[in-house]
């Protein structure tokens, strides 16, 4: 009963928003942001930063963060789809990692069931080698992997995650068999980094942030980032510019539950548009070192669909997903 009344109240709000009271109605928004992960991780930090920026800038009246950890987000998305259907105030933070996790976990819930709202940030993957490695650039790494993929050992994050996918794509672009890569997953960022610093593996792959201070200190050599073109914060051309056709980014985005009305979707998208432009959010991006990658609406939905198709291909190729 109260649910029904709440629903009415919400549609009234949405109607008001359409009628032109956009700012006042939006200021009433009481958002709930779910981080489908335990406190502390990337998704949780994104959710809590959004909360901070949304409330400080007055875009939303309040923003409550909840954590639903487990199985790479599979539990969180199931809760969003099953329990929050039609709730126009609910958002869930997600990212590229979830695309792969849902596939490998054989999750019955898929991203198609959610309502894509906007992509917020992105982080490019970086490939590094120990400072004393004979490999100097992406070309040489590609040649080594083409000659014998077994001899090139990669250290990175969990199997089927973005690091693994990027390593497989690199091998493919180098003309080697991606199923033959010797990829060794480590549990935490620190452990993989230690293995690379100790020269236990040929190369390491992870988000650039994990390696940045080591690269600056000269303990690791940066082979390149997986961006399309050289990014201003590094001295090395992108891997693609070095002639190995690899482009991948670990982005973070927000989606809404299924079954929300077009007006509700617009209200949420407007709020995110304003968030992206707010100086509070810009400030957070700067201190956290997150790269702005704001895309909303249909453009984001298109990106999401493309990423899903490509990820499925790669994961099928390495055997983690059966076609």
């Amino acid at each position: 009963m109260s649910q029904y009344r709440k629903g009415l109240w919400r549609s009234a709000l949405a109607a008001a928003a359409v009628a032109g009271f956009v700012t006042s109605a939006a200021a009433q928004m009481e958002l709930k942001i779910m981080a489908p992960a335990a406190p502390g991780g990337g998704w949780d930090q994104t959710a809590r930063s959004m909360q901070q920026a949304l409330t400080q800038s007055g875009i939303a009246k309040s923003a409550q963060v909840t954590n639903v950890p487990g199985a790479g987000g599979s539990i969180g998305i199931a809760q969003l789809v099953n329990n929050s259907k039609g709730d126009g105030n609910q958002l869930m933070v997600m990212g590229y990692v979830m695309v792969g996790a849902l596939l490998t976990n054989k999750s019955p819930i898929t991203l198609e069931q959610t309502t894509p709202i906007a992509r917020l940030t992105t982080e490019y993957e970086a490939i590094v080698v120990p400072a004393n490695s004979p490999i100097k650039n992406a070309k040489e790494l590609a040649e080594a992997i083409k000659a014998d993929p077994a001899k090139v050992t990669w250290a990175g994050g969990s199997a089927g995650g973005v690091d693994h996918i990027a390593a497989a794509l690199f091998a493919k672009a180098a003309g080697a068999d991606p199923t033959k890569i010797n990829y060794i997953p480590f549990s935490g960022g620190g452990e993989a980094l230690a293995a690379i610093l100790g020269g236990k593996v040929t190369a390491g792959i992870s988000g650039y942030g994990e390696f940045e201070s080591q690269v600056k200190a000269g303990k690791l050599r940066l082979i390149g980032l997986t961006s399309a073109t050289k990014t201003p914060n590094v001295d090395v051309p992108s891997i693609k510019e070095q002639g190995v056709d690899l482009e991948i980014a670990n982005w973070r985005a927000v989606v809404a539950p299924p079954g929300i009305s077009a007006d509700q979707k617009k209200a949420l998208t407007d709020a995110m548009d304003k968030l992206a432009q707010s100086k509070e959010w810009q400030e957070i991006l700067k201190t956290k070192g997150w790269e702005n990658a704001y895309v909303s609406g249909d453009a984001f939905a298109k990106i999401l669909a493309e990423e899903q198709a490509r990820t499925k291909d790669v994961l099928t190729a390495v055997g983690l997903v059966k076609s």
């Binding site: 409550q64 909840t66 954590n67 077994a150 199923t179 033959k180 055997g319």
Partner: protein
């Protein structure tokens, strides 16, 4: 080292041995569904095979022990308090699963446990449990912004 006069077969010991054997079987069955994906990795199957094999051996070891009857002596068992405590826990789980929040469930668990330990003041203990729950809720949900499972009561705060 005097052999006990009545070396009877211990039925509970045999059940334990059987359960271990079943566990070994489940681990083995689960292992058969795994695939070896990387050509360089030892594969996810080795550890389950080792565990399953050792569990089988231990099942035999426990079985022999049960036949020789050398399990330690046990006191008689009072089931009532166990049912009470697990019942309280089950109520808490159900309340959280169906959106009843954790305060009522916690109070119930507190009262059920203290009843299991022989107190006869369910209502008083229920209130004590509720006070603890409110205190913890305020500490964690408000001070640390941690999301605890909320029901109608929690929303009042």
């Amino acid at each position: 080292m005097t052999p006990s006069p009545q070396r009877r077969v211990d039925v509970a010991g045999l059940v334990i041995a059987l359960l271990l054997l079943v566990l070994a079987g489940v681990v083995w069955w689960d292992m058969t569904k795994l695939q070896i994906l990387s050509p360089y990795d030892l594969g996810p199957k080795v550890m389950p095979i080792v565990v399953s094999g050792c569990l089988t051996l231990l099942a035999i070891g426990n079985g022999i022990g049960a036949f020789r009857g050398d399990l330690p002596a046990r006191d008689s068992l009072d089931w009532k308090p166990i049912v009470l405590i697990l019942g309280g826990l089950a109520c808490l789980i159900a309340l959280i699963a169906f959106g009843g929040g954790f305060m009522i469930g916690t109070a119930l668990l507190f009262a059920a446990t203290s009843t299991a330990f022989g107190r006869r003041a369910f209502v008083t203990d229920f209130i004590i449990g509720a006070v603890i729950a409110v205190f913890v809720y305020v500490l964690f949900a408000k001070l640390l912004t941690l999301s605890l499972p909320a029901g109608p009561l929690e929303r009042l705060f």
